[in-house]
């Protein structure tokens, strides 16, 4: 029983950063912007979170620093693609490369330093309930944030006017502009939100998952988060499901190696991408569903004629 609980807990810990980064990117893509810089923003969040914790001694300040770092770094992308209308794919890729390099440089003095882990939730009486106690009431704070965030984004996108406006911009920015909607302003906010989420996801890695700084510690999770958004066909609850499936695969891959099961680790680590390809093929069969969920203006720069 304990083993099952432990495995479930590790899956949750592996899934949480994927979920947070993907939910942020989902909002960005729903507004019609494709930010391929998730990996870069995540690693900046990770180094920022670890650095602030190291300097102040408080992982809570580190958490805020991670969020701020991701948001500020995404602002660079926003200025380039939204104000200067650069190509989103190229800018996003360079953001990832810049983030990986910059974080390595900033983190040289943190390498090998002991980190401080964000404490798990501990509610007397509840956390000690057998089996479900630790699953429901004994996890790290970011786990709860990730679940609340998913619910909030779902509610925001499909139940609020502002969410509707955001989706409309993703569907057709020219139509939205013709209605008098501030396309660029909405997209700025969406991109910064996505950056903050990616930063938080990176913070989870350096403050909860492995409380230390290692160069390239995101190890491709930003790319998996990007794939997840497509895998989920831009729907938040499917991102949640996908994050846990991918998280389970990630953990399964580690356990498989530990038990010496002869499955090549490369195959397991490529599973999320394979799954995304399969899902893309499946959803493209239903044109109507694809049309409803795919932001039609995704990746196109918006330049209003004046």
């Amino acid at each position: 029983m304990d083993i099952t609980v432990n495995i479930l807990l590790t899956i949750a810990t592996a899934a949480t950063p994927l979920l947070i980064a993907a939910i942020g990117e989902l909002v960005v893509e729903r507004s019609g912007v494709l930010n391929l810089g998730v990996e870069g923003m995540m690693i900046m969040g990770a180094v920022g979170g670890f650095g602030a914790t190291y300097l102040t001694g408080s992982p809570w300040i580190g958490l805020l620093a991670a969020i701020a770092m991701g948001a500020v770094f995404s602002l660079l992308f926003a200025v380039m693609t939204l104000s200067l209308a650069t190509n989103q794919v190229a800018t996003g890729l360079s953001l990832t490369l810049l983030g990986l390099g910059l974080s390595g440089m900033m983190g040289t003095s943190f390498v090998g330093q002991p980190g401080e882990r964000l404490p798990n939730l501990d509610i007397p009486g509840l956390t000690s309930i057998p089996v479900i106690g630790r699953l429901l009431f004994g996890q790290d704070p970011i786990f709860y944030i990730s679940i609340a965030l998913t619910a909030a984004v779902m509610w925001f996108l499909f139940k609020t006017r502002t969410g509707l406006t955001l989706r409309s911009i993703g569907d057709s920015h020219t139509s939205a502009h013709a209605l008098g909607i501030h396309v660029i302003r909405y997209r700025y906010l969406a991109v910064i939100f996505g950056g903050a989420c990616a930063g938080l996801a990176g913070g989870h890695l350096s403050l909860v998952y492995t409380p230390q700084w290692v160069e390239n510690m995101t190890a491709g999770r930003g790319w998996i988060a990007l794939a997840l958004v497509v895998f989920a066909s831009w729907r938040p609850w499917r991102v949640l499901a996908g994050a846990y499936i991918f998280g389970a695969v990630w953990i399964g891959q580690l356990h498989a190696q530990a038990f010496g099961i002869p499955v090549p680790s490369q195959f397991l680590s490529s599973l999320p991408y394979l799954a995304t390809v399969v899902v893309l093929v499946l959803i493209s069969r239903n044109k109507r569903l694809t049309m409803m969920n795919t932001p039609a203006s995704l990746g196109q720069p918006f330049v209003p004629d004046r």
């Binding site: 569907d171 057709s172 139509s175 013709a178 049309m291």
Partner: protein, 521 residues
């Protein structure tokens, strides 16, 4: 006109000018719109109508000039500002969100923060009261163009604007739908609202408009009361000279002419759950004749065109025959090589690549058929030759443009259509299939295109025209067939065809009741 009267005008425009590069699209335009009037804005394609209304709606910024709203000078810097002032617009190119429902589309243009559920009820009530029934829950992507137009209009009306700008509103409506729209506009006028109405259909303008302002080459060339004018005098003001009436010489001995395009029992399953299946369509188009296909939008015309042009291949190769050869299994290029030419309905993105130059668009459609003329050894493009050919077409079709070889998207809709039709005519094809040849094209250009199609047929080609414009079909066709719910009636020879007969067939009366002499041949 005294200053006092001026102050009562809802909108006044003084010296409004917009310059794109070397082209002055609007040149010191003056315009007054009084309260409670329907004001027509007339002009050929490229006369500056769309540019003018875009400036009034804040989508474009004028280079100079002033706009007065209720006597106050205003700067309309964005559509949001225009909406706040009380200006609403129904666009020619739809500004709807396909992935959202009708109610959500409407909700987006309302700023009052009311919940979407109440907007759906409001939209439903308003749409029925104006005779434009609408299902708020339906997804816009699933709707026909006519239904989309309704959403645009309802959306505009829900904002309760003082001035409503309608850019070519009836070009996608059936005659009955257009009638409903006119009743709506008259009702709005009686409520004291002002309407700025852009249309190419001069009969409509005469019917509902109180005043008209005529633009030509970006300048105001006159004001008139359209009720006191005739359609041809209005057309003369727009064009600057007489519009040539289309001449269609009767043809003899057509029964013995060879069919160049044969469609035999063409059927097609619906491609998506929302498209129309084709059911056993048969039709012969002979050398020397123009056959028109009428029908309300969304009855399978698009699917039929795709099947004939080769955008969709047929199982049965003999279901489409071009010049006596089975073509059902051939691609568009294969069918073109047999001597056929096709002009699809959608100009941008289908008939032409928007971001490519006209000469490049010419090469895209004719690289296979005119390979020797346009492509040299080793696949090198002869840019001089395609440039010269593009210029030849531009001249032949009188295409107005702002640069020698502009991007397709830089042309107004009608001018691009002239180029696309001209591009195919230039090949002298023996079979020509055109879908909506003059959609949104002004009177002068439409007459030009229609005459060119007739002349092509008279020189020995088979011409098939699919159109929603009955006037057009009666003007150019030797026989008219009607498409309804994926079935095609037998062609009615033009001498026997009346609006009433065709209208009944369009409404779904028993197809094939008319005997067509050609079918027995």
């Amino acid at each position: 006109m005294s200053a006092n009267q001026d102050a009562t005008n809802l909108l006044e425009v003084r010296g409004l000018t917009k310059i794109f590069g070397t082209l002055t699209a609007c040149d010191h335009i003056d315009l007054d719109i009084a309260r409670g009037e329907i004001h027509a804005l007339l002009g050929e394609n490229g006369a500056g109508k769309s540019t003018l209304v875009k400036m009034l709606f804040g989508s474009l910024e004028p280079n100079s000039g002033e706009i007065f709203w209720n006597g106050q000078a205003v700067r309309i810097s964005s559509p949001g500002v225009a909406k706040k002032l009380g200006i609403g617009m129904v666009f020619q190119h739809f500004s709807l969100f396909e992935a959202l429902t009708a109610a959500e589309n409407i909700a987006l243009s309302l700023d009052d923060g009311s919940p979407i559920s109440s907007i759906a009820a409001k939209a439903r009530a308003l749409s029925y009261s104006y005779g434009l029934p609408l299902d708020p829950e339906s997804l816009v992507g699933d709707l026909s163009v006519g239904e989309r137009q309704r959403i645009e209009i309802i959306r505009c009306l829900l904002q309760t604007p003082q001035l409503i700008i309608l850019d070519e509103p009836t070009s996608v409506l059936t005659p009955q739908e257009a009638d409903k729209l006119f009743q709506t506009l008259e009702r709005l006028r009686s409520e004291g609202k002002s309407i700025l109405y852009i249309s190419h259909r001069l009969e409509e303008v005469k019917r509902i408009c109180d005043r008209a302002t005529v633009l030509r080459h970006g300048k105001v060339v006159g004001h008139c009361n359209p009720r006191e004018e005739t359609a041809s005098s209005l057309a003369r003001m727009m064009v600057g000279n007489e519009v040539q009436a289309v001449v269609r010489a009767p043809v003899d001995g057509i029964e013995t002419a060879q069919p160049l395009l044969e469609i035999r029992n063409l059927s097609r399953k619906p491609a998506t759950p929302f498209s129309i299946p084709l059911k056993g369509i048969s039709l012969n188009v002979r050398a020397g004749e123009v056959i028109g296909i009428a029908g309300v939008a969304g009855n399978g015309q698009g699917e039929f065109f795709e099947s004939v042009s080769g955008e969709v291949l047929q199982q049965d190769a003999a279901s489409v025959r071009i010049r006596g050869k089975d073509a059902g299994g051939l691609t568009i290029t294969g069918r073109r090589l047999l001597g056929a030419a096709f002009v699809p309905e959608e100009r941008l993105g289908h008939g032409a690549a928007p971001r490519m130059k006209l000469s490049e668009n010419l090469l895209l459609s004719r690289h296979a058929t005119d390979g020797k003329a346009f492509v040299g050894t080793g696949g090198m493009v002869k840019s001089g030759a395609i440039y010269a050919a593009a210029q030849r077409i531009i001249e032949a079709m009188d295409v107005r443009k702002s640069a020698p070889d502009p991007e397709a998207a830089a042309l107004s809709g009608g001018n691009l259509q002239k180029f696309i039709v001209g591009r195919e005519l230039d090949r002298r094809p023996s079979v020509m299939v055109v879908n909506q040849p003059t959609w949104g094209v002004d009177a002068g250009a439409a007459a030009h295109i229609r005459q060119a199609l007739i002349e092509l047929s008279r020189s020995g080609s088979a011409v098939l025209v699919i159109s929603q414009d009955l006037d057009e079909l009666f003007e150019i066709s030797d026989a008219i067939a009607v498409m309804h719910n994926g079935e095609l009636s037998k062609p009615l020879p033009i001498a026997e065809a009346t609006f009433e007969k065709v209208g009944l067939l369009m409404g779904g009366a028993e197809p094939g009741h008319a005997e067509h002499t050609l079918e027995t041949a």
